[in-house]
Protein backbone atom coordinates (compact mmCIF):
# COMPACT_ATOMS: atom_id res chain seq x y z
CA UNK A 1 0.00 0.00 0.00
CA UNK A 2 2.88 2.34 0.69
CA UNK A 3 4.45 1.85 -2.74
CA UNK A 4 1.14 2.33 -4.48
CA UNK A 5 1.51 4.86 -7.28
CA UNK A 6 -1.41 6.94 -6.09
CA UNK A 7 0.00 7.41 -2.59
CA UNK A 8 3.48 8.05 -3.95
CA UNK A 9 2.15 10.75 -6.24
CA UNK A 10 0.64 12.70 -3.38
CA UNK A 11 3.50 12.25 -0.96
CA UNK A 12 6.25 13.18 -3.42
CA UNK A 13 8.31 16.21 -2.56
CA UNK A 14 8.25 17.73 -6.01
CA UNK A 15 6.05 17.04 -8.97
CA UNK A 16 7.54 17.08 -12.41
CA UNK A 17 6.67 20.62 -13.60
CA UNK A 18 4.63 19.38 -16.57
CA UNK A 19 2.09 17.59 -14.34
CA UNK A 20 2.17 20.46 -11.86
CA UNK A 21 1.31 22.93 -14.59
CA UNK A 22 -1.55 20.78 -15.83
CA UNK A 23 -2.90 20.48 -12.27
CA UNK A 24 -2.63 24.25 -11.86
CA UNK A 25 -4.55 24.72 -15.11
CA UNK A 26 -7.28 22.34 -13.93
CA UNK A 27 -7.62 24.33 -10.68
CA UNK A 28 -7.94 27.57 -12.66
CA UNK A 29 -10.66 26.15 -14.92
CA UNK A 30 -12.45 24.73 -11.85
CA UNK A 31 -12.49 28.13 -10.24
CA UNK A 32 -14.02 29.60 -13.39
CA UNK A 33 -16.66 26.85 -13.48
CA UNK A 34 -17.55 26.67 -9.79
CA UNK A 35 -17.01 30.17 -8.52
CA UNK A 36 -17.32 32.32 -11.64
CA UNK A 37 -14.10 34.11 -10.81
CA UNK A 38 -10.44 33.83 -11.77
CA UNK A 39 -7.90 33.01 -9.07
CA UNK A 40 -6.42 36.08 -7.47
CA UNK A 41 -4.47 36.71 -4.30
CA UNK A 42 -4.07 40.45 -3.93
CA UNK A 43 -7.70 41.22 -3.15
CA UNK A 44 -7.54 39.87 0.45
CA UNK A 45 -4.90 42.44 1.41
CA UNK A 46 -7.02 45.31 0.13
CA UNK A 47 -10.00 43.90 1.98
CA UNK A 48 -8.13 43.61 5.26
CA UNK A 49 -6.96 47.21 4.86
CA UNK A 50 -10.50 48.26 4.11
CA UNK A 51 -11.87 46.48 7.18
CA UNK A 52 -9.16 48.10 9.30
CA UNK A 53 -10.05 51.58 8.04
CA UNK A 54 -13.73 50.84 8.60
CA UNK A 55 -13.06 49.89 12.20
CA UNK A 56 -10.84 52.95 12.57
CA UNK A 57 -13.57 55.25 11.33
CA UNK A 58 -16.40 53.50 13.14
CA UNK A 59 -14.92 52.85 16.55
CA UNK A 60 -12.03 55.25 16.83
CA UNK A 61 -13.55 58.07 14.77
CA UNK A 62 -10.43 58.95 12.81
CA UNK A 63 -11.26 61.51 10.17
CA UNK A 64 -8.71 60.38 7.56
CA UNK A 65 -10.26 56.93 7.55
CA UNK A 66 -13.53 58.40 6.30
CA UNK A 67 -11.70 60.06 3.43
CA UNK A 68 -10.12 56.76 2.45
CA UNK A 69 -13.41 54.90 2.74
CA UNK A 70 -15.11 57.31 0.39
CA UNK A 71 -12.27 57.41 -2.11
CA UNK A 72 -10.60 54.07 -2.65
CA UNK A 73 -12.45 51.66 -0.47
CA UNK A 74 -15.78 52.45 -2.06
CA UNK A 75 -14.87 50.01 -4.81
CA UNK A 76 -13.36 47.52 -2.36
CA UNK A 77 -15.98 47.19 0.35
CA UNK A 78 -14.94 46.21 3.87
CA UNK A 79 -16.44 42.77 3.49
CA UNK A 80 -14.82 39.36 3.69
CA UNK A 81 -15.45 37.81 0.29
CA UNK A 82 -14.48 34.79 -1.78
CA UNK A 83 -10.95 36.00 -2.28
CA UNK A 84 -10.14 36.13 1.42
CA UNK A 85 -11.24 32.58 2.11
CA UNK A 86 -9.34 31.55 -1.01
CA UNK A 87 -6.21 32.98 0.58
CA UNK A 88 -6.82 31.16 3.85
CA UNK A 89 -7.41 28.01 1.82
CA UNK A 90 -4.04 28.40 0.11
CA UNK A 91 -2.32 28.48 3.50
CA UNK A 92 -4.17 25.34 4.57
CA UNK A 93 -3.45 23.63 1.25
CA UNK A 94 0.26 24.34 1.50
CA UNK A 95 0.26 23.04 5.06
CA UNK A 96 -1.55 19.85 4.06
CA UNK A 97 0.77 19.18 1.15
CA UNK A 98 3.93 19.75 3.17
CA UNK A 99 2.68 17.49 5.94
CA UNK A 100 1.98 14.75 3.39
CA UNK A 101 5.47 14.96 1.91
CA UNK A 102 7.17 15.47 5.30
CA UNK A 103 8.56 18.79 4.09
CA UNK A 104 7.07 20.93 6.84
CA UNK A 105 9.72 22.78 8.78
CA UNK A 106 9.64 26.16 10.47
CA UNK A 107 12.38 28.04 8.70
CA UNK A 108 13.18 31.71 8.60
CA UNK A 109 16.00 32.12 6.07
CA UNK A 110 15.98 30.27 2.73
CA UNK A 111 19.15 28.28 1.91
CA UNK A 112 20.14 30.32 -1.13
CA UNK A 113 19.74 33.58 0.76
CA UNK A 114 21.92 32.12 3.53
CA UNK A 115 24.60 31.37 0.96
CA UNK A 116 24.69 34.86 -0.52
CA UNK A 117 23.82 37.17 2.36
CA UNK A 118 24.48 35.30 5.55
CA UNK A 119 22.12 33.74 8.07
CA UNK A 120 20.87 36.96 9.59
CA UNK A 121 17.14 36.70 10.16
CA UNK A 122 16.55 40.43 10.62
CA UNK A 123 18.04 41.16 7.22
CA UNK A 124 15.79 38.60 5.54
CA UNK A 125 12.68 39.89 7.32
CA UNK A 126 13.56 43.44 6.37
CA UNK A 127 14.01 42.67 2.70
CA UNK A 128 10.85 40.52 2.63
CA UNK A 129 8.98 43.50 4.09
CA UNK A 130 10.39 45.88 1.47
CA UNK A 131 9.56 43.39 -1.26
CA UNK A 132 6.01 43.19 0.04
CA UNK A 133 5.58 46.96 -0.22
CA UNK A 134 6.79 46.95 -3.82
CA UNK A 135 4.64 43.98 -4.79
CA UNK A 136 1.53 45.58 -3.31
CA UNK A 137 2.16 48.92 -5.01
CA UNK A 138 2.87 47.27 -8.34
CA UNK A 139 -0.13 45.02 -8.02
CA UNK A 140 -2.56 47.82 -7.32
CA UNK A 141 -1.23 49.90 -10.20
CA UNK A 142 -1.51 46.95 -12.53
CA UNK A 143 -4.98 45.83 -11.44
CA UNK A 144 -3.97 42.61 -9.76
CA UNK A 145 -1.15 40.31 -8.70
CA UNK A 146 0.54 37.60 -10.76
CA UNK A 147 -2.39 35.21 -10.60
CA UNK A 148 -5.00 37.88 -11.01
CA UNK A 149 -3.49 39.87 -13.86
CA UNK A 150 -0.78 37.84 -15.53
CA UNK A 151 -2.31 34.37 -15.49
CA UNK A 152 -5.93 35.44 -15.89
CA UNK A 153 -4.99 38.07 -18.44
CA UNK A 154 -2.89 35.81 -20.63
CA UNK A 155 -5.30 32.86 -20.30
CA UNK A 156 -8.14 35.00 -21.58
CA UNK A 157 -5.82 36.68 -24.11
CA UNK A 158 -6.25 40.08 -22.55
CA UNK A 159 -3.92 42.83 -23.69
CA UNK A 160 -3.04 43.92 -20.19
CA UNK A 161 -1.79 40.48 -19.21
CA UNK A 162 0.90 40.44 -21.88
CA UNK A 163 2.09 43.97 -21.09
CA UNK A 164 2.21 43.12 -17.40
CA UNK A 165 4.11 39.89 -18.10
CA UNK A 166 6.85 41.70 -20.02
CA UNK A 167 7.29 44.44 -17.45
CA UNK A 168 7.40 41.98 -14.53
CA UNK A 169 10.11 40.05 -16.32
CA UNK A 170 12.16 43.18 -17.03
CA UNK A 171 11.77 44.45 -13.47
CA UNK A 172 12.78 41.13 -12.00
CA UNK A 173 15.85 40.77 -14.20
CA UNK A 174 17.13 44.23 -13.29
CA UNK A 175 16.52 43.60 -9.61
CA UNK A 176 18.35 40.27 -9.73
CA UNK A 177 21.24 41.90 -11.58
CA UNK A 178 21.50 44.65 -8.98
CA UNK A 179 21.11 42.35 -6.02
CA UNK A 180 23.29 39.45 -7.04
CA UNK A 181 25.86 41.71 -8.77
CA UNK A 182 25.68 39.86 -12.03
CA UNK A 183 26.25 36.33 -10.75
CA UNK A 184 24.33 34.90 -13.64
CA UNK A 185 25.06 31.27 -14.57
CA UNK A 186 27.00 30.86 -11.35
CA UNK A 187 26.13 27.23 -10.87
CA UNK A 188 26.34 26.50 -7.19
CA UNK A 189 24.11 23.46 -6.77
Amino acid sequence: MKDDGFIRFFTAKKWWPFWGGIAFGIVEVLSFLIADSPLGASKPFVEVCSIATFIASDKFKIEYANVLLDNYFSSYLPQISWGTTLFVGVILGGFLSSILSKDFKIKAVPPMWKEFYGPSRTKRFFWAFIGGIFVALGGRFGQGCISGQLISGVVQLGVGGFIFMFSVWIGGLTAAFVFYRGNFFNITR
Binding site: G21, V27, V135, C145, A176
Partner: protein, 285 residues
Protein backbone atom coordinates in the same frame (compact mmCIF):
# COMPACT_ATOMS: atom_id res chain seq x y z
CA UNK B 1 -18.65 40.94 18.34
CA UNK B 2 -20.52 38.64 15.98
CA UNK B 3 -23.40 41.12 15.90
CA UNK B 4 -20.98 43.91 15.05
CA UNK B 5 -19.59 41.85 12.22
CA UNK B 6 -22.92 40.87 10.70
CA UNK B 7 -24.60 44.25 11.26
CA UNK B 8 -21.91 46.15 9.39
CA UNK B 9 -21.77 43.45 6.74
CA UNK B 10 -18.19 42.48 7.27
CA UNK B 11 -19.24 38.87 6.78
CA UNK B 12 -22.54 38.01 5.17
CA UNK B 13 -23.69 34.96 7.15
CA UNK B 14 -25.69 33.55 4.25
CA UNK B 15 -22.52 33.00 2.31
CA UNK B 16 -20.64 31.18 5.03
CA UNK B 17 -21.44 27.68 3.88
CA UNK B 18 -22.09 28.28 0.20
CA UNK B 19 -19.84 26.38 -2.15
CA UNK B 20 -20.92 27.37 -5.64
CA UNK B 21 -21.03 30.94 -6.77
CA UNK B 22 -19.12 34.16 -6.70
CA UNK B 23 -19.53 34.85 -3.03
CA UNK B 24 -19.48 31.38 -1.58
CA UNK B 25 -17.01 31.46 1.28
CA UNK B 26 -16.71 27.71 1.81
CA UNK B 27 -16.21 27.19 -1.91
CA UNK B 28 -13.34 29.66 -1.79
CA UNK B 29 -11.73 27.71 1.02
CA UNK B 30 -11.93 24.43 -0.89
CA UNK B 31 -10.60 25.85 -4.15
CA UNK B 32 -7.89 27.59 -2.17
CA UNK B 33 -6.84 24.29 -0.61
CA UNK B 34 -6.49 22.75 -4.06
CA UNK B 35 -4.48 25.74 -5.25
CA UNK B 36 -2.20 25.73 -2.22
CA UNK B 37 -1.61 22.02 -2.63
CA UNK B 38 -0.50 22.47 -6.24
CA UNK B 39 1.66 25.49 -5.38
CA UNK B 40 3.53 23.66 -2.67
CA UNK B 41 3.95 20.43 -4.62
CA UNK B 42 5.50 22.18 -7.60
CA UNK B 43 7.82 24.06 -5.20
CA UNK B 44 7.29 27.44 -6.84
CA UNK B 45 6.58 28.90 -3.41
CA UNK B 46 10.24 28.68 -2.40
CA UNK B 47 12.67 31.57 -2.55
CA UNK B 48 15.35 29.40 -4.19
CA UNK B 49 13.26 28.58 -7.24
CA UNK B 50 12.16 32.17 -7.88
CA UNK B 51 15.63 33.64 -7.34
CA UNK B 52 17.17 31.07 -9.67
CA UNK B 53 14.53 31.92 -12.28
CA UNK B 54 15.68 35.54 -12.35
CA UNK B 55 19.29 34.40 -12.45
CA UNK B 56 18.43 32.20 -15.46
CA UNK B 57 19.51 28.97 -13.78
CA UNK B 58 16.32 27.04 -13.09
CA UNK B 59 13.19 27.49 -15.11
CA UNK B 60 10.72 25.53 -12.98
CA UNK B 61 8.35 28.52 -12.77
CA UNK B 62 8.10 28.73 -16.55
CA UNK B 63 7.83 24.97 -16.89
CA UNK B 64 4.83 25.11 -14.56
CA UNK B 65 3.36 28.24 -16.12
CA UNK B 66 3.43 27.05 -19.72
CA UNK B 67 1.21 23.93 -19.35
CA UNK B 68 -1.01 26.08 -17.12
CA UNK B 69 -1.52 28.62 -19.90
CA UNK B 70 -2.05 25.90 -22.49
CA UNK B 71 -4.62 23.90 -20.50
CA UNK B 72 -6.45 26.86 -18.99
CA UNK B 73 -6.75 29.00 -22.12
CA UNK B 74 -7.88 26.08 -24.26
CA UNK B 75 -10.52 24.87 -21.83
CA UNK B 76 -11.77 28.33 -20.86
CA UNK B 77 -12.37 29.36 -24.45
CA UNK B 78 -13.80 25.90 -25.23
CA UNK B 79 -16.30 26.16 -22.39
CA UNK B 80 -17.03 29.75 -23.39
CA UNK B 81 -17.92 28.59 -26.88
CA UNK B 82 -20.14 25.80 -25.58
CA UNK B 83 -21.86 28.17 -23.19
CA UNK B 84 -20.86 26.79 -19.82
CA UNK B 85 -18.91 29.96 -19.00
CA UNK B 86 -21.16 32.74 -20.25
CA UNK B 87 -18.90 35.72 -19.66
CA UNK B 88 -15.17 36.01 -19.42
CA UNK B 89 -13.73 38.12 -16.66
CA UNK B 90 -10.71 39.67 -18.29
CA UNK B 91 -8.75 42.07 -16.10
CA UNK B 92 -8.53 45.66 -17.24
CA UNK B 93 -5.93 47.18 -19.53
CA UNK B 94 -4.15 50.39 -18.69
CA UNK B 95 -0.90 50.47 -20.55
CA UNK B 96 1.12 53.05 -18.59
CA UNK B 97 -0.05 51.86 -15.18
CA UNK B 98 0.67 48.25 -16.03
CA UNK B 99 4.18 49.00 -17.23
CA UNK B 100 4.99 50.88 -14.02
CA UNK B 101 3.16 48.36 -11.87
CA UNK B 102 4.93 45.47 -13.52
CA UNK B 103 8.36 47.00 -12.93
CA UNK B 104 7.60 47.55 -9.26
CA UNK B 105 6.17 44.08 -8.91
CA UNK B 106 9.08 42.39 -10.64
CA UNK B 107 11.43 44.25 -8.35
CA UNK B 108 9.53 43.09 -5.27
CA UNK B 109 9.33 39.49 -6.42
CA UNK B 110 13.04 39.27 -7.19
CA UNK B 111 13.99 40.69 -3.78
CA UNK B 112 11.64 38.74 -1.59
CA UNK B 113 11.03 35.68 -3.72
CA UNK B 114 7.29 35.69 -3.04
CA UNK B 115 4.19 36.67 -4.96
CA UNK B 116 0.99 37.10 -2.90
CA UNK B 117 -0.33 33.62 -3.74
CA UNK B 118 2.93 31.77 -3.24
CA UNK B 119 3.59 33.56 0.04
CA UNK B 120 0.48 31.94 1.48
CA UNK B 121 1.64 28.51 0.35
CA UNK B 122 5.09 29.25 1.80
CA UNK B 123 3.50 30.15 5.12
CA UNK B 124 1.69 26.83 5.05
CA UNK B 125 5.01 25.17 4.35
CA UNK B 126 6.61 26.76 7.39
CA UNK B 127 8.54 29.73 6.02
CA UNK B 128 8.17 32.46 8.63
CA UNK B 129 9.47 35.32 6.44
CA UNK B 130 6.24 35.14 4.45
CA UNK B 131 4.54 36.83 7.42
CA UNK B 132 6.76 39.87 6.99
CA UNK B 133 6.05 39.84 3.27
CA UNK B 134 2.32 39.92 4.05
CA UNK B 135 2.82 42.79 6.51
CA UNK B 136 4.66 44.66 3.79
CA UNK B 137 1.78 44.01 1.43
CA UNK B 138 -0.68 45.48 3.92
CA UNK B 139 1.47 48.58 4.26
CA UNK B 140 1.79 48.82 0.50
CA UNK B 141 -1.95 48.51 -0.07
CA UNK B 142 -2.55 51.18 2.50
CA UNK B 143 0.04 53.45 0.85
CA UNK B 144 -1.65 52.97 -2.50
CA UNK B 145 -5.09 53.63 -1.06
CA UNK B 146 -3.90 56.95 0.28
CA UNK B 147 -2.30 57.82 -3.05
CA UNK B 148 -5.13 56.68 -5.29
CA UNK B 149 -7.04 59.90 -5.60
CA UNK B 150 -4.16 62.26 -6.12
CA UNK B 151 -3.88 63.77 -9.55
CA UNK B 152 -0.62 62.06 -10.49
CA UNK B 153 -1.99 58.56 -9.99
CA UNK B 154 -5.23 59.35 -11.79
CA UNK B 155 -3.33 60.66 -14.78
CA UNK B 156 -1.11 57.58 -14.85
CA UNK B 157 -4.14 55.33 -14.66
CA UNK B 158 -5.84 57.04 -17.54
CA UNK B 159 -3.01 56.80 -20.07
CA UNK B 160 -3.69 53.95 -22.45
CA UNK B 161 -6.82 52.66 -20.80
CA UNK B 162 -8.31 50.41 -23.46
CA UNK B 163 -11.80 49.00 -23.49
CA UNK B 164 -14.07 47.57 -26.14
CA UNK B 165 -16.72 49.96 -27.50
CA UNK B 166 -19.35 48.55 -25.15
CA UNK B 167 -17.19 49.04 -22.12
CA UNK B 168 -15.83 45.56 -21.42
CA UNK B 169 -12.20 44.82 -20.83
CA UNK B 170 -10.30 44.22 -24.00
CA UNK B 171 -8.78 41.03 -25.28
CA UNK B 172 -6.41 40.55 -28.20
CA UNK B 173 -9.08 38.89 -30.40
CA UNK B 174 -11.41 41.81 -29.74
CA UNK B 175 -8.62 44.29 -30.45
CA UNK B 176 -7.83 42.74 -33.80
CA UNK B 177 -11.41 41.87 -34.62
CA UNK B 178 -10.91 38.18 -35.32
CA UNK B 179 -12.31 35.00 -33.87
CA UNK B 180 -10.35 33.95 -30.81
CA UNK B 181 -9.33 30.60 -32.23
CA UNK B 182 -7.19 32.40 -34.85
CA UNK B 183 -5.12 33.88 -32.05
CA UNK B 184 -5.36 30.94 -29.68
CA UNK B 185 -4.07 28.16 -31.93
CA UNK B 186 -0.78 29.87 -32.91
CA UNK B 187 -0.37 30.94 -29.30
CA UNK B 188 -0.78 27.36 -28.09
CA UNK B 189 1.71 26.09 -30.68
CA UNK B 190 4.22 28.75 -29.58
CA UNK B 191 3.74 27.79 -25.96
CA UNK B 192 4.24 24.08 -26.67
CA UNK B 193 7.48 24.76 -28.54
CA UNK B 194 8.63 27.09 -25.78
CA UNK B 195 7.91 24.43 -23.17
CA UNK B 196 9.93 21.80 -25.07
CA UNK B 197 12.78 24.30 -25.44
CA UNK B 198 13.05 25.28 -21.78
CA UNK B 199 12.65 21.69 -20.61
CA UNK B 200 15.67 20.69 -22.67
CA UNK B 201 17.58 23.77 -21.54
CA UNK B 202 16.85 22.96 -17.91
CA UNK B 203 17.94 19.35 -18.30
CA UNK B 204 21.10 20.53 -20.04
CA UNK B 205 21.89 22.94 -17.21
CA UNK B 206 21.35 20.13 -14.73
CA UNK B 207 23.73 17.85 -16.63
CA UNK B 208 26.43 20.54 -16.66
CA UNK B 209 26.10 21.53 -13.05
CA UNK B 210 26.94 18.13 -11.60
CA UNK B 211 30.41 17.79 -13.21
CA UNK B 212 31.23 21.39 -12.22
CA UNK B 213 30.18 20.60 -8.67
CA UNK B 214 32.37 17.51 -8.55
CA UNK B 215 35.27 19.41 -10.09
CA UNK B 216 35.04 22.01 -7.34
CA UNK B 217 34.98 19.25 -4.71
CA UNK B 218 38.09 17.69 -6.28
CA UNK B 219 39.94 21.02 -6.25
CA UNK B 220 39.07 21.52 -2.59
CA UNK B 221 40.40 18.03 -1.80
CA UNK B 222 43.58 18.74 -3.72
CA UNK B 223 44.01 21.97 -1.76
CA UNK B 224 43.72 20.02 1.48
CA UNK B 225 46.30 17.54 0.27
CA UNK B 226 48.74 20.31 -0.52
CA UNK B 227 48.24 21.82 2.93
CA UNK B 228 49.00 18.52 4.62
CA UNK B 229 52.06 18.03 2.42
CA UNK B 230 53.43 21.46 3.30
CA UNK B 231 52.92 21.01 7.00
CA UNK B 232 54.64 17.64 6.95
CA UNK B 233 57.89 19.44 6.24
CA UNK B 234 59.18 20.83 9.51
CA UNK B 235 59.66 24.35 8.14
CA UNK B 236 57.70 25.74 5.22
CA UNK B 237 60.05 26.73 2.52
CA UNK B 238 59.51 29.99 0.72
CA UNK B 239 58.49 28.28 -2.47
CA UNK B 240 55.76 26.25 -0.77
CA UNK B 241 54.48 29.42 0.89
CA UNK B 242 54.36 31.16 -2.41
CA UNK B 243 52.47 28.25 -3.94
CA UNK B 244 49.97 28.27 -1.07
CA UNK B 245 49.37 31.99 -1.43
CA UNK B 246 48.81 31.74 -5.15
CA UNK B 247 46.33 28.86 -4.80
CA UNK B 248 44.48 30.73 -2.04
CA UNK B 249 44.07 33.83 -4.16
CA UNK B 250 43.06 31.69 -7.13
CA UNK B 251 40.20 30.02 -5.24
CA UNK B 252 39.08 33.30 -3.76
CA UNK B 253 39.00 35.21 -6.99
CA UNK B 254 37.77 32.44 -9.30
CA UNK B 255 34.08 32.99 -8.73
CA UNK B 256 34.29 36.73 -9.35
CA UNK B 257 36.68 37.02 -12.31
CA UNK B 258 37.72 33.60 -13.56
CA UNK B 259 39.82 34.75 -16.50
CA UNK B 260 42.09 37.06 -14.60
CA UNK B 261 42.41 34.67 -11.67
CA UNK B 262 43.44 31.84 -14.00
CA UNK B 263 46.05 33.94 -15.79
CA UNK B 264 47.51 35.20 -12.52
CA UNK B 265 47.66 31.68 -11.17
CA UNK B 266 49.35 30.35 -14.29
CA UNK B 267 51.86 33.20 -14.16
CA UNK B 268 52.67 32.42 -10.55
CA UNK B 269 53.01 28.74 -11.37
CA UNK B 270 55.41 29.58 -14.16
CA UNK B 271 57.55 31.69 -11.83
CA UNK B 272 57.59 29.02 -9.14
CA UNK B 273 58.48 26.28 -11.57
CA UNK B 274 61.18 28.52 -13.02
CA UNK B 275 62.79 29.04 -9.62
CA UNK B 276 62.47 25.30 -8.84
CA UNK B 277 64.19 24.51 -12.14
CA UNK B 278 66.92 27.06 -11.40
CA UNK B 279 67.48 25.56 -7.97
CA UNK B 280 67.65 22.02 -9.33
CA UNK B 281 70.00 22.92 -12.16
CA UNK B 282 72.22 24.97 -9.84
CA UNK B 283 73.35 21.79 -8.14
CA UNK B 284 73.84 20.01 -11.44
CA UNK B 285 76.29 22.57 -12.80
Amino acid sequence: MWEYITQNEIINPDNLTTIIGRSGLLGGLLIGMLWGFVLQKTQICKYDVVARLFLLQEFTVWRVGTPLLIVASFFIYFFHDIGVIPNLMTPGTRIMAQIIGGLFMGFGIAISGYCPGTSAAALGEGAVDAIFFMLGMLVGSFLYASMHHTEVVQRILSVGALTTPDGQNITIPALLGVNHWFILIPFLIMLILFDIGITFWDLMLLSISLPVYYFKQAMNAFDGFLDSLASSFQKETKLVQRFNNSTDTFFQKFSKEPGRATSTFLGDLRDILGSVFKRVTKNVK
